[in-house]
Every structure is written in structure tokens, then in C-alpha cells.
Amino acid sequence: MDKKVQGEFVIGVFDDEEKLVKAGTLVKRDNFHIQDFFTPFPVHGLDELLDIKRSRLPFVTFVAGGMGLILALAFQVWTSAVDWPINVGGKPMLSIPAFIPITFELMVLCGALTTVAAFLFRAKLFPGQIPVTIDRRQLDDQFLIVIPSGEKNAELEKLLRDNGAVKVEKQMAGGRNE
């Protein structure tokens, strides 16, 4: 959960990912807002339940790749045709085919490195970052659903328990940093 998230949350703990997806579907059907899921491994179907918007990362890659392409091409044209023209094998100074391999490589390099950096930055994955852990077993064998607590808590807890939650508890935002 994000640092900015405030308030109390209901947490349903499951021991099976299929039960989690089923319970999540029912919770969403009953118009509860699902804050987040915590699972030890990626589970299909959770993204749809969370209404996560499409990542803008591909756009970052595209722009960075384009920048790399222009940069590489401009630099090569400048060095070998403008600033210090060198005659190689009698070819024209401005020989685009000869510049293509380096242009391609720099495009890939800029695109890839920028994408990784942008991802780490947006996901706040850097040294010293304290990960949010609600329950230690979310890293092992248990699957958590996190829903903001509200007036219909009793109904929500019953729904979770009826659908296979092994434990339902309340916790304040921020989690226990164990």
C-alpha cells in the first residue's frame, strides 16, 4: 500500500489463490472497493478486479527509444560529415547505411535502460525502501485481500468468511513493518 493511504482496512486471509479470486469477484460484485491484494506469486485475474489502469511504461520506452535514435544519428552525422569529415572507402560523407547499426544499438540501449529506471522509480524500488508487510505469510503461502473499512464491515466479514477466508482482521494503513 502507498504511504499516502490513510485509515483502517479489513484484511481477508486466504490459503488458496482460487478462493481469493472468487472472494474478490464477489466483494467487487457487492460494490466494495478493493484497495489491494498481497500474494506470494502473480495470480491471474486480480488486475481486472483492481481496475488498474494500463501501464504507461511502453510510452516511456517509445519516447526514450526515439530519443536514442535521434541522438545517435545526429551525433554520427555531426562527427563524420560536419565536424571532421572522413573519407572511408570513397563513400559519401553522409552515408546513412553505415550509421544504422550504431543508431539501432543506441535506440535499444536508451529504451531499455530508461524503461528499467522509470519502472524502479515509479514502483519505488530503491535501496533503503521499507516494504509494506501486512502479514508475514503473504510472502510464503497466504493470499490477502485488503478492503477499506466502512459501515458495512459486518456484511463484508461474513462474505469473506463464507468464501473461504481463514482469518479476517482489521489493521491501520501502513502495515506492520516487520
Binding site: H44, R54, P58, F62, G89, K91, P97, A98, I100, P101
Partner: protein, 397 residues
């Protein structure tokens, strides 16, 4: 999974009629071209033979590749690449038939000229009619055996898990051997039938180039036929939008791979600037070949690249169908620019894509589709006993 029992395919009689009519009309026009323009006739036959044999081989290659990696998503539509290989025996017959025009197509079959030529005389150990025909038959024998073997293995699974594991291993082993055999034989096949059209010129990357064309047009054909099957309600709930997304990625990646290889060959020849190598590109960048040569690069690379770059278009059926058709047409034009320039230069014919070219392509295409559909209806579209089928139908991005 839905519709497990409702998954057999039958050729629509009207469709079959249309295909047969197309076949008949195009055969007639192509026969006329034999008398009216024999050089164009033989060139068209060679291009179409190579194109459709490549398409059949792409099915074999695709199956072998997916079996080695033990992938399950392909199990949902495995009958399509399987049916694509059904053309191979016909391909052998047509290649042999097309070889009747060898005096028009291949300079190295003219003994008198070869004897006078210091370069060609040294190549006679490899480039002679007998050895050429022996090689041709051997390639096809290998391909037909491999495709039969893989198809049989893929369509008959044992029932106990232990046997299934052994079966899966056997499939992977056969596929791995097929892959090696395919790589060598297809390389030689493209040197033999296409590159020897210009016997003085050679390029070692040539077979990689023809292979990249084979792969991308194969994926385009799989995508297009799968889209049509889904349009008519087949494989509902088994092949999903995610499968098409993955096929779209293949098309995107492989058309870029083709452009990469195209550029590799072009740049090395341009850079080293040796007369006996550059003649290949000088020929294609002159007269009225120029527009065809460069537009071919745009059609086969830039168009699919920019259309399929976005995720949304890889999941859009209309965009996928459009790109598949563009690629299938584009790679026919690609073969045309590979084969025709040298022969047409000799016979003083200019670049031409007229009714003879188009209708001869339609003749082969309708025949290929008929053979493909006939094979497709021989059994159900999915193999119920396949242990990977269930997993394959649950594909997620």
C-alpha cells in the same frame, strides 16, 4: 472449456465451389501465359512453388519449435500448422514440374555456356541437373517424413501420465532432430532453387533471409486462417484474444527480424563494394525495379511495424487480419524481386506485375487453401487426449 465436442471443421460447399472456379480460371490464364509469355510463366511457377513450399514448411518449423519448448498455447490451434504441411507432397510434384523450365531459369544448365565460363565450370560439381534433382527429392523426402512423424505424435497421446511424459519427451526429440534437418535442407534448398538463378553471385546470408520470409509469412497465414475459423464460431472458448495477441507479437517480431536480415545483407554488400557482389543490388535499384524493390521493404517492414507497435492493435482482429494479408502479399513480392530481375534482364523484360503474375499466384493459393482445408477436416480441430490442451486454453497476458 466449452464446445469440446463441437469442434470439427467441414468445408463449406459454396466455398469449395468458389475455390475450384478460381483454380480453373487461373489455370486457364496461366496456361495461356505459357504460350504468350513463356519466360514469365516459368518465373511465376518457380516463385509460387517456392512461396507455397515455404508456407508448408513454416507449419513444420512452427510445430517443431513449439514442441521443443514444450509450449501449450499452440495446442489449441495445432491443427492449422499441421494442415499447412499437407502441401509438401504436392510441392515436390510441382517443383519437379517447374524444373521442366530449367533452361529458361538456370544459366548453369546450358552446358555450352558453362564450359566457356571460368566461374561456372568450377561449380559444376554441385550445380548439375542430376545432383540438383537428387537433392530436391531428398529434401522433400526428409520434410514429408518429419511432418508425418510430428503430426502423428501430436495427434495420438497415451492416457496414463507416465506414458504421456515419455511421449512428450519423444515429441521434443523428434522436433529437435527435425529442426537441424530443416535448417540444413532449407538453406540448401533456397541456394539451389533461388540463388542459382544468378550463379555467379552468392551470399551466405541468403538462406537466413529466405528463412525469415518463410517464418513471417507462415505466422501471417496461421493468424489469418485462425481468425477466419474464429469468425465462423470454431474453437470458441479455446482460442482467445490472448492467443491472437501472442500471434501478433510473433508477426511484429518476425517482420522486424526479416528487415534486420535484409539490412545485414544490404549493408555488407554496400560497405565492401565489390563489383561481383554489388551487381545484385545495382540490378534491383535500376530501371523500373527500383520502386518495387523499395516498396517491398516498406510493405514487409514499415507497415506491420507501425501498425502492430501498439498493444491495442495486436488485440484487434481487423488490424491483425489486415497485417496478415499485407505480409502474405509482401513476401510474394519479395520473392519476385529475388528471382525475376536477373532472368528478365537476360530476356530484356521489364519488371511487371500483370494479370499473369497475379492469376498464377491465385492459382497456387486456391490450390493450397483447398489442400489445407481438406486436411483440416480429416479430424477434429483439437486433440482431446492432449494433456497440454487445457493449460493452453488458459493463456494470460
Amino acid at each position: 472449456m466449452k464446445n469440446l465436442n463441437d469442434s470439427s471443421y467441414e468445408i463449406n460447399p459454396t466455398l469449395k465451389q468458389y475455390l475450384l472456379i478460381t483454380l480453373g480460371v487461373c489455370a486457364l490464364i496461366t496456361a495461356v501465359s505459357y504460350f504468350h509469355a513463356p519466360v514469365r510463366f516459368w518465373v511465376n511457377i518457380l516463385i509460387n512453388n517456392f512461396y507455397f513450399v515455404s508456407l508448408a514448411l513454416s507449419g513444420l518449423f512452427f510445430l517443431a519449435l513449439q514442441n521443443i519448448t514444450n509450449s501449450s498455447w499452440m495446442r489449441t490451434y495445432q491443427r492449422i500448422p499441421q494442415a499447412m504441411t499437407a502441401f509438401l507432397p504436392w510441392g515436390l510434384g510441382l517443383m519437379l514440374l517447374g524444373f521442366l523450365g530449367h533452361h529458361t531459369l538456370y544459366e548453369w544448365t546450358h552446358t555450352a555456356e558453362v564450359l566457356k565460363d571460368p566461374v561456372l565450370i568450377k561449380k559444376t560439381a554441385y550445380l548439375n541437373v542430376t545432383f540438383f534433382l537428387i537433392r530436391l527429392v531428398v529434401y522433400f523426402a526428409l520434410w514429408i517424413t518429419a511432418s508425418r512423424l510430428i503430426n502423428v505424435l501430436m495427434n495420438s497421446w497415451p492416457s496414463s501420465p507416465k506414458q504421456q511424459e515419455a511421449h512428450s519427451g519423444k515429441l521434443a526429440r523428434v522436433s529437435a532432430i527435425t529442426m537441424v534437418v530443416f535448417a540444413l535442407s532449407f538453406a540448401l534448398f533456397s541456394y539451389d532453387s533461388l540463388m542459382s538463378v544468378e550463379p555467379h553471385w552468392f551470399s551466405t546470408i541468403y538462406s537466413v533471409y529466405t528463412f525469415s520470409g518463410l517464418f513471417v509469412s507462415g505466422i501471417a497465414f496461421i493468424t489469418l486462417s485462425l481468425l477466419v475459423l474464429r469468425l465462423f464460431g470454431h474453437l470458441d472458448g479455446i482460442v482467445t484474444r490472448d492467443h491472437f495477441h501472442d500471434l501478433g507479437k510473433w508477426m511484429f517480431g518476425m517482420s522486424t527480424f526479416w528487415a534486420y536480415i535484409w539490412f545485414c545483407q544490404y549493408m555488407l554488400i554496400w560497405y565492401s563494394n565489390i563489383p561481383e557482389e554489388t551487381e545484385y543490388y545495382i540490378l534491383r535499384d535500376h530501371d523500373n525495379w527500383t520502386w518495387l524493390f523499395w516498396s517491398n521493404f516498406v510493405i514487409c517492414f514499415a507497415v506491420p511495424f507501425f501498425i502492430l507497435l501498439k498493444r491495442e492493435s495486436k488485440r484487434n482482429y481487423i488490424a491483425l487480419a489486415g497485417v496478415s494479408i499485407v505480409l502474405l502479399v509482401g513476401h510474394w513480392v519479395d520473392l519476385y524481386t529475388l528471382v525475376a530481375p536477373k532472368i528478365y534482364e537476360h530476356y530484356k523484360i521489364l519488371a511487371v506485375i500483370g494479370p499473369y503474375e497475379i492469376l498464377s499466384a491465385f492459382l497456387f493459393a486456391s490450390g493450397y487453401v483447398l489442400i489445407f482445408l481438406k486436411k483440416l477436416q480429416t479430424r477434429k480441430l483439437i486433440v482431446d487426449s492432449d494433456p497440454y490442451l487445457e493449460e493452453g486454453s488458459h493463456l494470460h497476458q
